[in-house]
Amino acid sequence: MTRYRYMPFSSGSRFTALRVGLLSALLLGSLVWVSSLQVRCDPATATVSIQIVGVYTTNSTGHNMTTFKRGQTVIVWVTVRNLGSDLDLPPLGPITWVEVTDPRSAPFTVQFHIGVLPGGGRITRAGFNVRLDYGPGIVDIPTGTYRASGFVSDKMISQGGSFFAPQASATFEVSL
């Protein structure tokens, strides 16, 4: 599912150079190819079109897997398509997140990756390393079905950010 969000920019000063460029283009009577511009934007005031394509799991050698044993490492991949411009929201955005919940619906881990999401419909993958134990020497995590959910936000929700699109999820099994 894609959620299109539109809010105009409120801070004009950062776009002075852009405006000058656009005015120059007007005076020269030439067209401006907007999508070629690298627009850095305030997330709350940007045109953003993010789609979480999917979530899947592999082992540490990159082979698709959905069944693991306690103590093993699972790589949770979140794939994101950005249909808008390149999305770069410094200092801490955009953020691609993954939450893994255990069979009791308790959060097992929340991890995030901060980095540019190239636009123009390109797909970005982010991989998250999840070790299936509670720590060194402790392997008593519950067995059963785990759920990995991927999210993308403009910045930390704790800093006033918000998620761009509904999460996508995948499940995997953990056995003894």
């Binding site: 959620r3 969000r5 539109y6 809010m7 105009p8 920019f9 409120s10 004009g12 776009f15 852009l18 405006r19 656009l22 005015l23 283009a25 007007l26 009577g29 030439s30 067209l31 401006v32 907007v34 709350a44 005031t45 045109t47 997140w97 939450e99 919940t101 255990d102 009791r104 619906s105 308790a106 959060p107 097992f108 929340v110 995030f112 509670y134 999210f151 936000s153 930390m156 929700i157 704790s158 006033g160 950010g161 918000s162 998620f163 699109a165 509904p166 999460q167």
Partner: protein, 341 residues
């Protein structure tokens, strides 16, 4: 060539409009967030809920609601994306991990909707679960000098917070009952003592201790602080005809009309336990009038303490009616009207 220039003008005007339109022209969302309990044990279910409304209080349906719960050291524990319902409400439930550490957790929320200004809010809860019973070991049975009994000052008006007045000595009498329940010598002091209380906010300055306070927010700096910041489970409220005790989400759990209080033959009072932002275990007790506060002390000492293990909730509201009309508080005249976490 003219057509090309015209097209360029249209493109630039459209782009410019997109980039410079004033976001403040949009209406403001208002989002709230609450927890179904002030505290939990590891493994227990946590429900976060709230409402997305406009500034006039009208529900805003289908807003996107982003949630992030941080653990006591500030690391993300849980995230969720939901939409508000047609009544503006939303909710999210998750189970705390069995490995959840002790301390204060914070749930952040952002609400967003197309052509609205977004809104943020937060709620806190603590681990482990705190109840009247669980306070026993941290207050009345605590080691020496671990508990601070903070009395509402009856003088030094200049050190009271705005909206906080001088106390009646009857509040001290009620405190004396509770102090007498302690196994060991404990600390005490006034709510106007800057060594104990930050006089700019009313917050205790110490941490990881226990606090016992009696008297309402109208006379006690510390109670005012806990209620004003919505750190206490319940808070006092009133209108022209009625006094209320309300939960943080605004729902009423106890009320009494002002006219009922005029002859001091009836009252409602609260006993509540919680953990504050500095890790202090807090016990608050007060009535709407001084007789209610005194009744809280008597009831805690004579009825609750002997069967404390059965008091497994964080807060209780009681009502006293002077059935025999003697003006004295008889324990048989006190009834529980609400409890919760």
């Amino acid at each position: 060539m003219i057509g090309l220039r015209l097209l360029a003008i249209v493109v630039v005007v459209l782009i410019w409009g997109t980039l410079t339109a004033d976001v403040s022209g949009y209406p403001q969302l208002m989002v709230s967030i609450f927890t179904n309990s002030m505290s939990y044990n590891p493994g227990e279910s946590v429900t976060l809920y709230g409402y997305v409304k406009d500034t006039a209080g009208t529900p805003v349906p289908y807003a996107t609601v982003s949630i992030q719960v941080n653990d006591p050291i500030g690391s993300p524990l849980h995230i969720m994306y939901v939409n508000s319902y047609t009544d503006g409400g939303y909710s999210d439930t998750f189970n705390l991990p069995m490995s959840a550490g002790n301390g204060m957790y914070t749930a952040y929320v952002t609400a967003y909707a197309y052509q609205w200004n977004p809104s943020n809010s937060l709620a806190r809860f603590s681990v482990p679960r705190i109840t009247l019973y669980s306070l026993q070991s941290r207050t009345f049975g605590a080691a020496p000098n671990r508990v601070y009994f903070i009395y509402p000052d009856y003088g030094h008006a200049q050190y009271k917070l705005p909206g906080v007045g001088l106390a009646a000595l009857s509040d001290w009498s009620a405190m004396g009952i509770l102090y007498g329940m302690c196994s060991n010598i404990q600390n005490d002091g006034l709510d106007t003592n800057g060594i104990l209380v930050d006089l700019s906010s009313g917050s205790p300055v110490f941490s990881e201790k226990s606090v016992v306070v009696m008297g309402g927010r109208g006379v006690h700096n510390v109670v005012y602080y806990y209620e004003d910041r919505k750190l206490a489970p319940l808070y006092f409220s009133c209108d022209a005809a009625t006094y209320y005790l309300k939960k943080r989400d605004g729902s009423t759990v106890g009320s009494i009309s002002i006219s009922e209080l005029t002859d001091l033959h009836r009252d409602i009072f609260v006993l509540e336990a919680f953990t504050d932002l500095k890790g202090n275990a807090v016990l608050i007790a007060y009535g709407i009038t001084w007789k209610g506060t005194f009744a809280a002390g008597l009831y805690l000492k004579s009825v609750i303490a002997p069967s404390l293990a059965s008091y497994s909730h964080a807060w209780y509201v009681f009502r006293w009616d002077d059935l025999n009309g003697d003006g004295m508080i008889d324990l048989s005249e006190i009834t529980q009207i609400a409890n919760g976490d």
